[in-house]
């Protein structure tokens, strides 16, 4: 520059990018720092924006000025190549020592700027705050409103939309009970343990199939079988209205019965062996009355046993509705019949 001598020291020739946050404020950011964010990088390269105040890049709504500041701090540190892994780790750990709200905002903003490493870092920090804590503690930390009914808390896996997979589960269990019955018939002498196991599975199955804790359940099994033969018929209305309402889900039927439906063969590129566990053809012969009664009695028995056998602290830590069988709630014909023996005592 031949302008004669100048006493003033020229500032460093850094380039800046102009960005605008959702609240309207515009600011300059060092280019190399800003380009660390994929979203900004893309905007600059594809649209050429950001070169002046009038053409500032509009940042996503979730990036407010304060959060932007934090993000830029992160970028400024990490975009330097020479840093060791240890240094980066130390920085990261200190960086996420923020209150929960700030952390959430940061995660959100980083996500909208597509800054993956920061998203991972913040998510992990948030996960650490949740891990090992009871739901009440988590609610308190994050100000989550406690707006579920007690009932809802007991059945966290309830499905609001009918899911064809639930029916599949139903079939699975029905099949399983059949296998067990067969085994039972084969054996002449049952030893104690085996009886207990089978009994508990029978109970589970009847829960699922019946929904109600009474003999209706058994009828449902019978009806299901009839229904399956005439696939297009709606399910028996006496049980499980939940199922009766939903649209025909032939796909599920097809998926499970290899021989019957050729439709299936086209939809799934799988050839099933004849020993497929998911065969629905030959499920459940009619149960004899003695069996029905046995089931009814054992249903109650099981519930009682569960309650006593399942130690309290495990009940608490196992809050999947405490291993509640979800199908129970789905098949509970509209009025959910909560089984008191099951699950978390409130």
């Amino acid at each position: 520059m031949s302008e004669g001598t100048m006493a003033v020291v020229k500032p460093e020739m850094k380039s800046y990018i102009w960005v605008q946050t959702a609240d309207g404020s515009i600011q300059q950011v060092e280019e190399e720092v800003a380009m660390f964010c994929p979203m900004i990088c893309r905007e600059v390269l594809q649209t050429g924006m950001g070169s002046s105040k009038n053409y500032a890049i509009s940042l996503p709504q979730r990036v407010n000025p304060a959060t932007l500041g934090l993000i830029l701090d992160y970028c400024r540190f990490h975009q330097l190549q020479g840093r060791s892994n240890k240094e980066r780790k130390i920085f990261d750990e200190k960086f996420v020592r923020l209150d929960t709200e700030k952390l959430c905002e940061l995660a959100s903003a980083a996500d909208s700027l597509q800054l993956r490493p920061l998203v991972d870092l913040t998510s992990r920090a948030l996960a650490r705050m949740i891990e090992g804590r009871t739901p009440e503690e988590v609610r308190e930390i994050f100000n989550i409103p406690d707006d579920l009914t007690e009932e809802e808390k007991l059945e966290p896996l309830r499905n609001i939309t009918d899911d064809p997979h639930i029916r599949l589960l139903n079939r699975l269990y029905a099949r399983k009970r059949k296998e067990l019955k067969e085994r039972e018939q084969l054996k002449n002498i049952e030893n104690e343990e085996e009886r207990v196991d089978k009994r508990s599975v029978d109970d589970l199955l009847s829960f699922i199939n019946g929904g109600d804790g009474d003999s209706k359940g058994v009828r449902a099994i019978k009806n299901k079988k009839k229904n399956r033969k005439r696939k297009d018929q709606p399910r028996n209305s006496s049980s499980n209205n939940g199922n009766g309402d939903h649209k025909k889900t032939d796909t599920v039927d097809n998926v499970a019965s290899p021989t019957k439906s050729s439709k299936f063969q086209d939809s799934l590129p799988v050839t099933f062996s004849p020993n497929l566990e998911f065969v629905e053809d030959d499920i459940d012969d009619e149960l004899d009355p003695a069996m029905k009664e046995k089931i009814d009695r054992e249903v109650e028995d099981f519930a009682r046993r569960l309650n006593s056998v399942w130690p309290k602290r495990v009940q608490e830590s196992v809050s999947l509705g405490s291993e509640r069988l979800v199908p129970m709630s789905v098949y509970g014909s509209g009025s959910f019949n909560r089984f008191n023996g099951f699950g978390k005592q409130q």
Partner: protein, 396 residues
């Protein structure tokens, strides 16, 4: 997002789903599902988890196997959307048909990583045909299973990592399996059924780890293999080879490793190569070889030592040698550079070395002998007890 008063806003429930998924992914599965009772907004967030890992944090010493299985069914069936990873670690109920059902459910989930580790003591689990339809698989880890791929199986075209531990599969099937996975980069076969001849045709293979029994292994097409580790448990079976046959094997083996950087070889493996004709130098130089680990190498065994020397002579860029020697006797030491290098390495890395005996070639001049000794004595020794004896190979 409207900003409420700082102290009372429930920010975490309104995070973008990407972030929520990320958070839940870092939690043990139980806790992730438990978030469903936090609030109405949290009810179904867990359903889109990108991975399902059923491990000890899930099983938690619960004894009721039926209950556990029921829950796994529920979780699988309630899960929505694509599932990247499914892992089942040492389930207390062992091998059962339910596992096959779960694999079936995974068919609709675009699963990319499937890991199933059964424990020792349970009967092996026969993997159902559903598994071979998981065509999106990039990673497959199996333990204590029986594999019988159907004839229609064309391989996993996207598979990158394969780990079989205690898997029963025939050598032929295994070779076919591998060659039908063209993108395979990491292969680990440990304690699998006795292989007679194992053929590895894997153009992208970078890492190969073998622990078990085979009679012969041939690396058909492994130009990129950078790291190899071979442990033969028993060499008994390999003794029956004809010398020519054995020779032809190493002739093929080492040249098929042009890119090798790290070799971890078990003595028995070296022995399997040749009973009679250990070459002085390999026909190819292992230019990339930087780390050589030889274990269970019996250095009083001529073959082993010869092979070790041969490898060393052929590895000009070797940086690290690891061995568990106590006593070394090197015969016909010629003082050539690679051998000196070898001795230096041995001294530097053999922590339990007690005695090293270096016997010069017969006919070496005194001066040369003395010069060599001088040099050898100076080398640093890791083992405090190491004793270096230099002498002349006895005549005859």
């Amino acid at each position: 997002m409207k900003r409420n008063k700082r102290s009372t806003s429930d920010v975490i429930s309104n995070l973008p789903s990407n972030v929520t998924k990320n958070i839940l992914k870092d939690l043990p599965l139980r806790e992730a599902v438990r978030t469903s009772i936090l609030s109405s907004k949290w009810r179904y967030k867990w359903k889109k988890l990108p991975q399902l890992v059923f491990d000890d944090t899930f099983f938690l010493k619960v004894r009721d196997n039926e209950k556990l299985k029921a829950v796994i069914y529920q979780v699988l069936l309630f899960h929505q959307g694509p599932l990247m990873k499914f892992e089942l670690w040492y389930p207390p109920f062992g091998s059962c048909l339910d596992i096959n059902n779960w694999i079936f459910i995974l068919l609709t989930k675009n699963i990319q990583e499937f890991s199933f580790y059964l424990e020792a003591g349970f009967p092996y689990h026969e993997i159902p045909r559903h598994l071979y339809s998981l065509l999106q698989l990039r990673e497959l880890n199996l333990s204590y299973c029986i594999l019988k791929p159907p004839p229609t199986f064309k391989g996993f075209s996207r598979l990158v990592n394969l780990d079989f531990c205690h898997v029963n599969i025939s050598s032929k099937m295994c070779g076919l399996f591998i060659s039908n996975c063209p993108l395979l980069e990491q292969l680990s076969l440990r304690h699998c059924a006795d292989f007679d001849s194992l053929e590895i045709n894997a153009p992208n293979l970078k890492y190969f780890d073998f622990f078990g029994i085979f009679v012969s292994v041939s690396l058909e097409n492994t130009p990129l293999l950078a790291e190899i580790s071979v442990t033969l448990i028993s060499w008994g079976t390999t003794r029956d080879k004809e010398p020519e046959e054995a020779d032809s094997e190493w002739v093929k083996f080492f040249p098929s490793l042009p890119a090798i950087e790290k070799m971890n070889l078990h003595g028995a493996f070296l022995e399997s190569f040749a009973a009679y004709n250990v070459p002085e130098r390999l026909p190819c130089t292992l230019n990339q070889l930087k780390v050589l680990i030889l274990y269970d190498v019996c250095y009083s065994n001529l073959d082993h030592v010869s092979w070790a020397l041969c490898l060393l002579r052929s590895s000009p860029n070797l940086r690290k040698l690891r061995s568990t020697l106590r006593e070394v006797e090197i015969l016909h030491f010629s003082g050539a550079e690679p051998e000196i290098h070898f001795v230096k390495m041995l001294l530097a890395h053999s922590k339990v070395l007690e005695r090293m005996k270096i016997l010069h070639e017969y006919g070496i001049s005194d001066e040369k002998g003395f010069a060599i000794s001088k040099e050898l004595i100076r080398f640093p020794r890791t083992s405090p007890k190491a004793e270096v004896i230099v002498d002349v190979t006895p005549d005859g």
